[in-house]
Symmetry: C2
Subunit: 374 residues, 2 copies
């Protein structure tokens, strides 16, 4: 069933999107402000369940690309993703019937809502990553045979480019990344234009609803003084993301972060709240691998999420600061994202990580020191 | 009057184009081979005098861009510039009535002939640089108000991109350069689509004929054992490039050359054949400034041309080798290329050179040591 997403739901959605962003995806707060401003002018946005989309409808996903470290300093004007959508429509000679997120993490949960609010198009409750990933070929759309090309990219001074690399989505990413860097580190894109039938076949379904429900669960648990991590576990259980594991509790003791080739790359180290053990998390925009004293506890594409210990507020890689007390959790991804072809596209090896993927639910809970209370 | 350019004229044209390339423009030899192969299939190419082009005809210039140091190692397939032209035609929704060079130096005298041979289009006897320059905004087209956008770029694997930066030709260059680098250092482009009226208003006229006549003059002087430099002086006198000055005679004693950010940058030092003086020439793809013992003798946009001493064969920057005996000449550029707005776009300051432009014809001939004979 289609439903209306209103401005007062955006804080919960942004919180859930930051969680699914698994450290990356760009700052959802800035995205939220852009959508709030647009909705103040145009009202709520219609969200379509993927099953409601006509098989022959044209769906054009919209997104921001770039280094999250730049996004927090270079605020978009807000018209860029619509410019990208319109440029792609002109190139295709067809109008879109809906837009859709390419990833459900961070700012990219918000950009399609911004497009929807500004154009009156509905947004499809699904996405192509089921989380956030740093590169454009890392899409379930791509894994299951949808071409990302032609891609439209737009900048803040009305520059546009249309990139067509045929079926080579990796090369499309390379070209779009080169232009994003020349745009100052942030670009807005429309890509993976596809039929409703392809949406149903290749997208991770209902991830806008999921983000909203996770953000709501955290807020409500906080208000009721319940354990927010347990509330998340309960909220996730009936979804495609059914397993949550607490991986570590501790505080940030070291952050190494640099913006290179259009990405935020680095690692963070946490020291245990009790005991001597430490956890390292490596990231390329998003968290990729979490190890405790050298043992792997969670691996991409499963979600590694750093939560602020007291409030369970998700912390993005660019928000990591020395001394923060955190709970690190792992969340299982849908089966669609764990097939051999999916793992070849966005599993550990795609990031140069030598460990073989193992589902996070195989990690025993008792590997984690008990939470100190008070 | 329109005329037919045939395959047997290509060696002379390539030689003249290498001269007008003023050290850059890409290796004309490779371009010549590509055109010869195409002409073997399709016959001679029609060359149109700019005055013959209808005012409302659509002319789409075609070119190669990239570092000449890469071009000699990465031979084009030969279909790329046609792919760029066709991509731009599709984007504009109009077919071109002619193509044209954007520069008259090196390989870019050949690329439009390749397009002409493969498509049956005529090529306009004019260009937008009157020589070679390293960047796409350094065009008389741009100086006199023609937008380079939309630009189409094509790679060897049928990748294409359409770049539209509105009136900002410098940003267009930046975007196209970024994609050229991702294409491995060489891209093929169609840009500055314009009317016949704009060709007449903004292009440097008859530079294909000029290259052909200069290449012919060198060959004929060589065959007759005449002084080829004097033959060039005579050939240039009635043209828009009326002054030639011998700047230096000597041999190559040092070459510094690196491929950075998609360009070949560096400097070459020549030691005098008689005496202690030396000449330095700095280049960014093309030769930019020539100094003798620290005194400026010739400055961009005037042409600094290094000729092999015995044969007067032009030597491109990537062909410079220790020990080569050379004659360095300076050639004056047309008035169209020396206006304040032209100098702002491709004069010394545009390359970070602190010297003020001074016409090469102001250099006294007697500054140069006499040529040793024998």
């Amino acid at each position: 069933m289609s439903w209306k997403l209103s401005s007062d739901q955006l804080p919960d959605l942004a919180r859930g999107a930051a969680l699914l962003g698994t450290g990356g995806g760009g700052d959802p707060f800035i995205g939220r402000l852009l959508v709030e401003r647009a909705m103040a002018e145009t009202g709520p946005v219609t969200v379509l369940d993927p099953e409601e989309v006509d098989d022959d409808a044209l769906v054009i996903p919209t997104a921001q690309m770039g280094a999250p470290t730049v996004v927090v300093e270079k605020i978009p004007r807000g018209t860029e993703p619509v410019a990208a959508l319109r440029a792609l429509e002109r190139h295709l000679g067809r109008r879109a019937q809906a837009t859709m997120p390419i990833e459900c993490g961070g700012i990219n949960s918000m950009i399609p809502l911004l497009v929807a609010a500004r154009t009156g198009l509905p947004v499809v409750d699904a996405d192509g990553m089921g989380r956030a990933f740093p590169e454009l070929q890392m899409e379930t759309f791509s894994v299951y045979g949808v071409a990302g090309s032609p891609l439209a990219i737009a900048g803040e001074n009305d520059e546009t480019a249309i990139i067509d690399t045929g079926a080579d989505n990796r090369r499309m990413e390379s070209f779009a990344r080169a232009l994003t860097i020349r745009l100052g580190g942030v670009g807005h894109i429309a890509e993976y234009a596809m039929s409703g039938a392809d949406v149903k076949r290749t997208a991770v379904p209902r991830t806008i609803s999921l983000a909203l429900s996770l953000g709501t669960a955290i807020r409500e648990a906080r208000a009721a003084h319940h354990d927010a991590v347990e509330a998340l576990r309960t909220a996730l259980r009936p979804t495609l993301y059914s397993h949550l594991r607490v991986l570590f509790r501790g505080k940030v003791v070291d952050v190494e972060r640099r913006t290179v080739e259009g990405f935020a790359r680095g690692r963070v180290r946490f020291a245990a709240s009790g005991g001597d053990s430490s956890m390292d998390v490596e990231f390329q925009n998003e968290n990729l691998v979490a190890t405790v004293d050298g043992d792997v506890r969670c691996l991409v594409p499963d979600l590694i999420v750093v939560l602020e210990a007291d409030t369970a507020e998700p912390i993005t890689t660019e928000g990591l600061r020395y001394g923060q007390r955190v709970t690190v959790v792992g969340i299982s991804t849908p089966d669609l994202m764990r097939t051999p072809e999916a793992l070849a596209t966005f599993g550990p090896a795609a990031f140069g990580i030598r460990h073989r993927f193992a589902p996070v639910e195989a990690t025993p809970e008792d590997a984690v020191p008990a939470a100190p209370r008070g």
